[in-house]
Amino acid sequence: MSEGVKKFLYVNRKAPHGTIYALEALEVVLIGAAFEQDVSLAFLDDGVFQLVKGWDTSELGSKNFQPTYTALGDYDISKVFVERESLEERGLTEADLLELTYEDEDDDWAEKSSIRVVSREEMAEIMAENDVILSF
């Protein structure tokens, strides 16, 4: 960790659309990306629903902000942790989720998946390792 760089973890635990927290959390993540800190995103509990692909908000009449998740790689956000137990409880698998990718500058800019499905115990470790936890 470079001097002056903090590890920021954005914790997403709420479903999208029913409330605005998912959308406004993303707005913080995008602004935060400009600050050159070490950034990770965590999705657990109902937060995993934020990554389920195939949104169509036209009948509801609200903004479809799903493309913003896909753009996270362009903001150099490459660490997206998704809790396995949360997926399983909800009958979801990784195949239900958006494909989020980033280009790895240490590997000749190869395109790689940003999503890492982790166990509950690993998620607890990730939380413990970070310096600042912004929860939504």
């Binding site: 029913g18 409330t19 605005i20 509801l60 009449g61 609200s62 903004k63």
Partner: protein, 130 residues
């Protein structure tokens, strides 16, 4: 049928306001009468004309105001809930000695009796909240 609608949450933060709006549009399309739409709790925040949502998103206050104008709807904002949250019309501004007001067109401020009256007069009352 005569329907009453209650909106208990503010715009954008909860989906309640969107659901209530879409329900109201569908009810009107089916020829039902909407006796009144009552805004309570944070629902009063739907009625501020000062909101400026991003251009690629819906403008919830304008949607309500336009629907009210088109169908001559009675949009009532609870006065007690509105006072706590800083929603006022010109009358209230003067009465409370405030220097600004923010009520959007198509809304009116009145008492909780208007909610009870809707319960009495309507065939069905549908509540949208958190």
């Amino acid at each position: 049928m005569k329907l009453g609608i209650v909106v208990n949450e503010g715009p954008y933060t909860h989906e309640a306001s969107d659901t209530a709006y879409n329900f109201a549009v569908a009810a009107l399309e089916k020829g039902h009468e909407i006796f009144r739409i009552f805004f309570y709790h944070d629902g009063v925040n739907n009625a501020t004309r000062l909101m400026v949502p991003p251009q690629d998103d819906r403008h919830i206050q304008q949607k309500w105001s336009e629907l009210a104008e088109k169908h001559n709807l009675d949009l009532v904002v609870c006065i007690a809930a509105a006072q706590r949250r800083g929603i006022l019309d010109e009358n209230e501004m003067k009465r409370q000695g405030k220097d600004a007001e923010n009520l959007a067109p198509g809304f009116r401020i009145s008492g909780l009796g208007q909610l009870i009256e809707a319960g009495i007069q309507c065939d069905r009352l549908v509540i949208f909240g958190d």
